[in-house]
Amino acid sequence: MNSTLPYQWQRFKFTQKAEEFGDRGHWGTRNMPYTPHPQHRSAAYAAIKSQWSIAVNDEHDCYHTATANGWTCGGYFWGLYAPRQVPAQLGLSPSPNQYPLQIAKFVGDAVGNWHGYPVAHWLSPFDKPDTPVLQAWLNAGFITRPTMAKIHRGKRCSL
């Protein structure tokens, strides 16, 4: 993915390269175990934590797709749920707003276990993917340039 970036943005090195995680297509199951976090599937936490609206299997697929494609930057993986090649809603922001969300952020813990949650990229700069991931999504046709610009600039949009 890095080779498709304009030379100017090469400075954004991916913090975790594919080869560190093992063979392509097996990262999520072999070297990077994924465990859904129960607080992101709990009505009791819906006021403070975003909630997945897709099935647990789809959450796993979302993670595996992100790792398989190397959609990583800043130590996180960033996922989309696109069963028909078009990004679809994968979760809701905390109540009372409950904005529909289409981007997932995956974080690893100290022992290499990973979990993820839906993010509202316009509510926190830490919850928006950096340029290389957005460029990869643009190149793959998941987002348009206007959408990429909105995400990068922290503006609310649907993908």
Binding site: R11, W122, L123, S124, P125, T131, P146, G154, K155, S158
Partner: protein, 412 residues
């Protein structure tokens, strides 16, 4: 009176217009530098019947805000042909590309090695904000062959969404998302041009703009004014800018029964503060100077008089889905997912269909404050609003008041 438009083909990420130069940043790390004055002159020379309208619309917007010129403009024998030219210009399809302006167009490496979230140009320095912080680099003049500086200075580490320079004090404000709102003093004579970093508010802030000596900050969910007051030192007579307090949106829109459930986006620039409600857009004016002696009965009175409710303008569309806003003399701009809407200062509404990559207005600019730049996937539209010259500046609701002496900047 319809706005006039000039379309430039190409794929761009951001634009600035400053001191006779149009700067077009692309997403590949290059900046296209267009000698704007020369280009406008060449277009005017090619269209002699609308040459005055062209110059006023695209390169000398300050002219008709000058009080002396306005008096002349009110002469029907002057006003009629000028309006005629502006009307004719609005019907022209002005379209160009790099090849058309090759003599006045050069491409250089941008001084920044990242894709900016926002840019600004201030005292011949280009500022760029991004996920990695705030940077600046010196800008060379439009007529020189010297390229832009290769090395950028880093001023701040936070992920930044907007950078806004002040037209009232030499200062820069940045909206740093969850980290809040910051400002820096701009030091023209020092190599590291930003100094005296100050965190004005810890509240979330994704957008900001200057209201005279104060700074307005907002997100789609909340808003505040970082209020400063001006005090004159009795001995030196020098005016000091002193931080007052953070003012919540409830206080700004005090006269309405502020209903949190009906509290839409709040934003502002200079004296104008706006709030989207289910009724329309509510307008309040911010008085940045205290009442004159004899008209105030103390600090509390001053506070109460700081905001005056101007009214509401009704909308015939749902504004609750607005995703970004901006304010200029010609009106206030609302961005939706699929279009831009300009609420004009003369009461009109202008809609620009299509999803933009970016757009910007230039409220601080002396010559270009009537321009709206909209970058689409394959072009930039430079739209000039010419109606505001003929609007009473003191009574308008949409857009801030434009006077002839607006752009006098004091040192902090």
């Amino acid at each position: 009176m319809q706005p006039v438009k000039l379309t430039i083909d190409g794929v761009y990420w951001d634009s600035q217009i400053y001191s006779g130069e149009l700067l077009l940043f692309d997403a590949d790390g290059a900046v296209h530098r267009v000698d704007w004055r020369a280009v406008v002159d060449s277009i005017a020379d090619g269209n002699p019947l609308v040459q005055t309208a062209l110059r006023v619309a695209f390169s000398d917007s300050d002219l008709f805000y000058n009080q002396k010129v306005r008096k002349i403009l009110c002469d029907p024998q002057i006003e009629t042909p000028i309006k005629g030219q502006l009307t004719s210009l609005a019907s022209l399809n002005l379209h160009a590309g790099r090849r058309d302006w090759d003599q006045n167009w050069r491409i250089e490496d941008a001084p920044f090695d990242f894709l900016p979230t926002d840019t600004d140009v201030y005292y011949n320095h280009i500022f760029a904000a991004g996920n990695d912080g705030l940077y600046s680099a010196p800008r060379t003049g439009v007529g020189t062959s010297r390229p832009l500086g290769k090395k950028a200075n880093k001023h701040h580490d936070a992920a930044i969404l907007q950078v806004k320079a002040s037209d009232y004090f030499t200062a820069i404000a940045i909206a740093a998302g969850n980290d809040g709102l910051f400002e820096f003093a701009f030091k023209r004579t020092e190599s590291n041009v930003l100094d005296n970093e100050r965190r004005l508010a810890t509240k979330p802030c994704s957008s900001c703009d200057w209201s005279f000596q104060s700074v307005m900050g907002w997100t789609v969910e909340s808003a505040f004014l970082a209020s400063f007051r001006q005090e004159r030192d009795p001995s030196s007579k020098k005016i000091s800018r002193i931080f007052d307090r953070i003012i919540d949106r409830q206080e700004i829109f005090q006269s309405s029964l502020f209903d949190e459930a009906d509290a839409g986006v709040v934003w502002g620039c200079r004296e104008k503060m706006y709030r989207i409600t289910s009724e329309g857009i509510e307008v309040a004016n911010y008085a940045h100077m205290p009442p004159k002696k004899g008209k105030s009965s103390g600090a509390q009175q001053t506070k109460l008089n700081q905001f005056s409710q101007q009214g509401t303008f009704k909308l015939n569309f749902d504004a609750s889905t607005v995703i970004a806003t901006g304010t200029a003399p010609f009106g206030t701009v609302l961005e939706f997912e699929d279009r831009l809407v300009v609420m004009r200062s003369d009461g009109g509404v202008e809609t620009f269909p299509g999803e933009p990559v970016h757009w910007r207005v230039f409220p601080r600019s002396e010559h270009y404050s009537n321009q709206l730049h909209i970058i689409y996937d394959d072009r930039i539209d430079i739209i000039s609003f010419v109606h505001d010259y003929f609007v009473d500046q003191s009574s308008k609701l949409a857009g801030f008041r434009r006077g002839s002496n607006d752009f006098v900047v004091d040192e902090l």
